[in-house]
Point group: C2
Chain length 187, copies 2
Amino acid sequence: MALIFVTSNRHKFEEVGDIATRLDIEIERDDIGPVEIQADTLEEVASYSAKEAAAALKRPCFVEDAGLFVKPLNGFPGPYSNFVFRTLGNDGIIKLMNGKTDRRAEFRSAVAYCAPNEKPKIFSGKVEGTLTTSVRGKQGFGFDPLFVPEEGDGRTFAELSTSEKNRFSHRARSVDSFLNWFKEVNG
Amino acid sequence: MALIFVTSNRHKFEEVGDIATRLDIEIERDDIGPVEIQADTLEEVASYSAKEAAAALKRPCFVEDAGLFVKPLNGFPGPYSNFVFRTLGNDGIIKLMNGKTDRRAEFRSAVAYCAPNEKPKIFSGKVEGTLTTSVRGKQGFGFDPLFVPEEGDGRTFAELSTSEKNRFSHRARSVDSFLNWFKEVNG
């Protein structure tokens, strides 16, 4: 039976699917739209959603929540990256960062896996980098065109293919920890 | 028995208290910290919180959620005004509005009242205005120093006393509708 990934984001599903395939795990997408809470950490948001989703589906499932945390903006847009992307877009972040010399940011990801009536299990991942002063690249989604990962070759996340991004992205790290744990537990 | 207002914000409690006193209704503050969800409307956020709070307290209670919706920023910061104020502050909004000729914004408020195991009842209020290019005034809280209500005399919300602000604020409108309804229903 396929493992259920609850998400409305097809880009996320593609990235997670790429990792699952390499680990020989079959995943299936469900767009049930669970409640997302307002909280300062992704772990709290994902944990609540996974619990809600597992209760509604009556089956084990996982969710993934991610965000861009900009150091000189005190962690903005953080857990509200989706809303901020929809309202301000990349241009808003560029404007807010105008004139800032400290351009450090990190992408963070939290996976929460939950079976009905159980406590969610959490897996976190992050990647450090810097913000560009203009958008670069057309792949990925959200703030990817602004983010240059420290471990890369200077390209933004939006200039990398899915499999290249999956070599060191925040999401690859949380999902990889989760799926390896899942595989071990479920033989 | 006093009516319970669930809030962690003492400024809100002061504003709501001023209105309640005029209507001869006794209110009491409870800082239970109910779950707040991520949603595009304040009504959805307040409704969910009121239901959670009433269930936890086992008593009827109300919550109030408010936000600044900036027209040329597509409704940003909206339901996440609190987080945005904590991370970007007034300076962030000033920076995002830099160079914009359309400076229209509105403050919105939603009150949700709920008794245990009942459906929440919602009351909305809003006030239209424009954004200044620098902070003005020390009263109120949040984005008040940037907001000049259309119906006022050119002063920002932070340049008005609580009773002046309560003459036409978004919160005064939602709370006034609610408390008048409450008084009528409860004799």
